[in-house]
Amino acid sequence: MNERWKISLMLAPAVLIIAGLFLGGLLLGIMGSLGYMPFIGRHDWSFDAYREIVTSERFYHSFLLTFHIAFTSTIIASVIAMGAALVLRKSFFGRRVIQFLFHLNLTVPHLVGAIGILYLFSQSGFFARLAHEFHLIARPADFPALVYDPFAIGIILQYVWKEVPFIGLILLANMQSLSHDYEAVARSLGASRWQSFRHVLLPLLSPGLLAAAMIVFAFTFGAYEIPALLGQNYPAALPVLAYQAFTDTDLNARPAALAMAMVIAIMSALMIFAYARLTRRYVRA
């Protein structure tokens, strides 16, 4: 009894604050998206906001774009990070420098990276100037649009820049906690380097890789400032569209804004769920 009280007291402040702010915010978001906003005098429950967004072409385009951004960034960052981790686990001259740069990159906020990408890849940016120097283009407009572009290339470049070190260091730590014996056994039994990677190392790394990829996907799906700076006006990424609808002077746009926020929440909940399922499967297998 005594110990139970002690544990409850130690946990209570943190649990109350997190539940109040996080679950409270989600709950109010769900209620508002269903039209119930007593603070601004709306008391009618309805699915109108959800009906409105799923029939709107604007939402549909934003959702697809945001999914494309999150999915593509996560896959590219995971593949490069895996390659980097496979090299970094070896010992060679300069490894410490790369590891230091990985750590350094982690502490740089996404917004700074986004501005850097803007100055490198815009039509009057560094690479456009380089192309001019080599007589590849005559005017800034000749340079391909890599920011404010329909394929969100600038946004994806920024996420890849930030997330390769993030995923890479998680993979590296996982590799270092594994013994090399499994791979050595596979190789001595005649497996090629690719086979020993594909059938031995990759399954062992999967839980860590999936966890990292899930965090990256959820983040890139819900981040605001990067697509706000580097993205097109139409279609805008979903968090940008939600923020615009929320700050619209017309309060009738609020339920739709909250419905979009709930779509973002549901996508991240799916990530948590998928991760839990996948790791369980891999652990059993």
Partner: protein, 279 residues
């Protein structure tokens, strides 16, 4: 040790192709920061010049002058980040201890509740919260922003401390108590030294997570609480590249300084690490 690294190295010679990829990787990691640094000291840098045609410290003079809005924003960002870190330690340390040392019913559920805010994007929660902060008079105030920053930082501190206490043996505290130390003394001389490295790294990252918040500050601060990232965004979208560069350099400084202190404690295995996905 020396000998061992030597053997490993000679076994794993890297091919020229791998060296080339590594060189590309290093360039790519540094490259986006270079234009910011150069812009901050350039006076005129027009297309198609590869380097600025004239240099000046104009942007730095503006940024550091007492009349610009940059220094007040720096102060606001610093106070909020420090306040959030201290609150996260005070609230998160006991909770982390409970999760790390004890098994109890409902533990998995509480862990899920604490993990969820580190994954669910802030905008999904903050849009719903906004009206409550408005009614409570917290919208547009520094305390409001400070409270909402607890959503990403506190869970993270709890997880870090849970990891630290999972490898901690509380018996030494009991011994200290039996030798006559009071609760405070036992904490000060026994617990604190043992958990200090974990506590420090957790605090550094809690600080950085708050330092890098954009959308939570914008929504709850309503434009009246101006932090560095808000200013940086405004100057960047207004095309003031020189001032953006200078603010950017100031903005990444704490991360660099903290890295120097914390580098040896950092590892992808560390619980603290997953939060860096939010910076």
């Amino acid at each position: 040790m020396q000998e061992r690294t030597h053997i490993v190295r000679s076994k794993n010679g890297l091919s020229p192709l791998v060296w080339l990829s590594l060189a590309l990787l290093v360039t790519w990691l540094v490259l986006p920061l270079v234009p910011l640094a150069v812009w901050s000291v350039s006076r005129s840098w027009f297309f198609p010049d590869i380097a600025p045609s004239a240099y000046s410290l104009r942007a730095w003079e503006y940024v550091l002058s007492p009349t610009s809005e940059v220094l007040p924003a720096l102060g606001t960002t610093l106070i909020i980040a420090l306040g959030v870190t201290i609150l996260s330690i005070l609230i998160g340390l006991p909770a982390g201890r409970a999760l790390g040392l004890y098994r109890f019913r409902g533990k998995a559920l509480i862990e899920l509740l604490i993990l969820a805010p580190t994954i669910v994007p802030g905008i999904a929660v903050a849009l719903g919260l906004h009206v409550v902060f408005l009614k409570a008079g917290l919208a547009g105030t520094m305390s409001g922003v400070l409270i909402v920053h607890l959503i990403p930082t506190l869970p993270y501190m709890v997880l870090v401390m849970a990891g630290v206490f999972a490898n901690y043996n509380p018996d030494a505290e009991a011994q200290a108590r039996s030798l006559g130390a009071n609760r405070l003394q036992a904490f000060r001389y026994v617990t604190l030294p043992a958990i200090l490295p974990g506590l420090l790294i957790g605090s550094l990252f809690a600080f950085l997570v708050s330092w890098s918040q954009y959308i939570l500050t914008l929504l709850i601060g309503g434009g009246r609480v101006v932090t560095l990232p808000l200013l940086l965004f405004n100057f960047a979208s207004a095309g003031r590249n020189d001032i953006t560069g200078a603010i950017g350099m100031i903005y990444i400084l704490p991360g660099m300084i903290l890295l120097v202190f914390a580098a040896r404690y950092m590892s992808g295995r560390n619980q603290a690490y997953t939060a860096t996905g939010q910076i």
